[in-house]
Symmetry: C2
Subunit: 212 residues, 2 copies
Amino acid sequence: MELYSYFRSSASFRVRIGLALKGLAFDYRAVHLVRNEQLEPDFEALSPQRLVPLLIDGPHTVSQSLAILEYLDEQHPEPALLPADAPGRARVRSLALDIACEIHPLNNLRVLRYLTQQLGVSEDAKNAWYRHWTENGLLAVERRLARDEATGLYCHGDQPGLADCLLVPQIFNAQRFECQLDAVPTVMRIFEACMALPAFQSAQPSACPDAQ
Amino acid sequence: MELYSYFRSSASFRVRIGLALKGLAFDYRAVHLVRNEQLEPDFEALSPQRLVPLLIDGPHTVSQSLAILEYLDEQHPEPALLPADAPGRARVRSLALDIACEIHPLNNLRVLRYLTQQLGVSEDAKNAWYRHWTENGLLAVERRLARDEATGLYCHGDQPGLADCLLVPQIFNAQRFECQLDAVPTVMRIFEACMALPAFQSAQPSACPDAQ
C-alpha cells in the first residue's frame, strides 16, 4: 500500500494511526501542502479533490480519511477500529464526525488562507477563529464522553478505535494553536492514554519522513 | 423512530432522504435553528452537540447525519444505501465526505453568523465565501463523477444511495445562494434524476411539517 500524506495534515495523521494500530506496512509518499504540491497535475490525476490523505491499495484508490479508515477496517478486520454492535458503531462514527465535520474543516490551511488573504482578517482574529471552533467543538465532544458509560480508557471502551484516530490529531492541532484545554479533562485523559501507545507515537507528525 | 430536524438543515435533509428511500416511518420533531431552539436545555439533554439531525430509535440515540445513515443501513439493509463491495463502499463514503467535510461545514448557519457578527464581514463577502466553497467543492465532486465509470444514473451505479443523500441537499443550498452550477453537469444530471424520485421529493424542505 502507498499513503500520500503530509506530516502536519491531521487527516493524514488519522490514517497513519489506523495503519499503525493494524500493523500494516505502507510506502510513505510525501505531498507538501504548504508548497502546494497537491495542486500539481501528477497528483491531481490520482486525487481529483487535490487532498491528502490518499491510499493506494493495488487497483484501489481511496480518498477521505474516514472512508480510508472504514476501508482498512473492512479489508483488515483485526484489531477492529469499530465495535461489533450497530449502536456502538453509530456512537463511534458520530464522535469521529463531531471532529471531522464540526471542527477540522473550519481550521484547515486553505480556510485559514482565505480568511487572511481574501477577507483581510488579522492574525489575531484568525487565531481566535481557530480557537473558537476547536474549543467549542471539543467541549461538545467532552460533554458526550463525560456523560456516557460507553466511554472507557479510550473514546469507546478499553481498546483504541476510529474515534481515537480522529481525536488525537485534533489535540495536536489544538496545542499548536494554544487552545484552552482545561475544560476538556476526559478528552485529555484519552489523549494521554493514546499517546502512551506505540501506534500513536509512530504516526505522529514528528515521526514522519517529511517532518521538518 | 423520532427524527429531530429543521426543514432547511441540509444535514437533516440527508437523513430524511435515507428514511424515505428505505420506506421507514418516523415522528418528525421540529427544532427551529434560526430561533436557537437547539440551545435549549431539553434538547441539549438529548444532543450534547446541540445539533440536528438526531435520531431516536427505541433505546438508541444517534447523532451526525452520516452516522445515522450508516446506522439505518445496518438496521434496515434493504434497499441498501452502500454497495456490497468494500472498494465500492469506500468510493461512496468518500464522495459523501467530499460534501460533508469539504463543503457543508464552511457554510452552515453558525459559521455564516461568525463571519458577519464576529469578523464584521459584509453580506457580499459572506455570499462570496459561501459560493467559493460550494462551487470549488462541487467541481471536485464533478471531476470524480465525470471521469469514473462507476458513476451511473446516480453517484454510484443505477440505484440511489448514500452519496446521493448528501449531494441533493447540497444542491438545494447552492441554488438558494445562487451558486454557478453550469460547470458541474454530471452533478446536475444526477440531481435531476434524484429529484424525479418520490423519496427525494417527500424529504425536501418544502415538504416538511415545519416548512415556512
